[in-house]
Symmetry: C2
Subunit: 228 residues, 2 copies
DNA sequence: CGCTTACTTGAGTCTGGTCAAACGGGGTGG
DNA sequence: CCACCCCGTTTGACCAGACTCAAGTAAGCG
């Protein structure tokens, strides 16, 4: 699914990487307001990106899965404008901020790929904004669960055959701009309709197509994507 | 305010550009689902980016002002996932899609700048998502008007001394995930509090600081930005 | 002068929020 | 081994912010 790298590119990326970071569920990888000198690529596991209001209201802005870059904004714009927290055990590939420019110079194609990844993130954010701004609670939940499942299955975080998503309802609520209570009631209703089930480990999807139909959302074409 | 280009870069960008596009208020510059072979930089005027649900619900996702790229997603991902419409008379600089890769190869620094711009857009989207998901109607309106004013003043679209923003309440509503009626009532209340005034041409800001305080939002540091 | 576009306002409704309490499983320390 | 606690889920009652419907105003324009 990922674009294959040339030997040359591979060698450069290898020299570029500064090590691996392992994180556990709940670990904060990046903190809003900090100036972390690193940039990461997710290798395995997943995380969520969020912002806080001074009084504690939280908005989950997106999720990060294998192939996604974490901390690019901080690298380019200075200070982090959001935080990132692991949702599972995960491994990340660590790069140095300063060397990003080096990558652009040495391998323009890889630079292009970085932009590609940023652009895709932007596209997902647009979609999230549409959901939070204009969909009903039921549609939102169907959308988010459907979209997470799709991305997770593509990147190998979840098993496509047996879609089980370990996530709390609080997190779904914060990603959808809903209250926990209302999220629960809505989720319960989707379960009653036979579209999903809640187990101890999270949400088990029974009918992905029906969810996406409710959300009026289709996954984009699954084109080959770059990986750095 | 923009990063100065070297003579070399300037020459390349000049050869890269394919002409200028002039648009009038209301013109559609890009259409969701289309495959436009062009990429644009806004030179003057402003526009908005939006997405539609099949039943017509509309979400304005962001605004585009001088220095912003329009159509980058389409260039990298294929088909446009959103539409763009002019909010004023505007001029755009036209580039060919295919040549973007050429730019990366010939001038890595400019490639880096493209990523920088995409990253900033992402940052604004995060902020919008936070607003739509977690702020009250009053906070949202204060945020959006404050943020538009800030960006508009920075890029010379509006006069910083006499902040007058020609925008309809319907558009504000669609950007904030609110109904037109509720937006109007909220706007009216802000006006009653002496923070702004509605004239025939749009919204006239009287107290930008107070608006930003209500929104619990501060404009980021106004760093030098790239321009392509 | 009629048409259109945008803004206003009021009345009534409803989706989704808040508050409060209880449940259930897993871990842990006595 | 059990009591307790913590975390996440669940439910009910009540409230309110925001939506819909409807109608009216005001300005700009052909």
């Amino acid at each position: 699914m990922f674009r294959p790298l040339s030997a040359d590119e591979l060698a450069f990326v290898s020299s570029f990487r500064k090590g691996e970071l392992h994180a556990e569920r709940g670990d904060t990888i990046l903190m809003e307001g900090s100036r972390n000198p690193h940039l990461y690529t997710v290798l395995s596991g997943w995380a969520f990106r969020y912002k806080l209001l001074p009084d504690g209201r939280r908005q989950v802005v997106n999720f990060a899965m294998p192939g996604d870059l974490v901390g690019l904004q901080g690298t380019l714009l200075g200070e982090m404008q959001h935080s990132v927290e692991a949702l599972s055990a995960m491994t990340l590939c660590v790069f140095e901020r300063q060397e990003l420019m080096e990558l652009y110079r040495a391998h323009p194609d890889l630079g292009y790929d970085v932009t590609w990844i940023a652009s895709r993130e932007e596209c997902i954010l647009d979609e999230n904004l549409l959901a939070v701004g204009r969909r009903t609670a039921r549609e939102r939940l169907a959308y988010l669960i459907g979209a997470i499942a799709e991305r997770g299955a593509d990147t190998g975080v979840f098993d496509r055959e047996r879609l089980e998503i370990p996530i709390t309802q609080q997190l779904l609520a914060d990603a959808l701009g809903l209250s926990l209570v209302h999220t629960n009631k809505t989720a319960r209703r989707l379960a009653a309709d036979g579209l999903l089930r809640w187990s101890e480990r999270g949400c088990h999807i029974l009918d992905l197509d029906a969810l996406q139909a409710i959300a009026k959302w289709r996954a984009g074409p699954n084109t080959r994507r770059p990986f750095i």
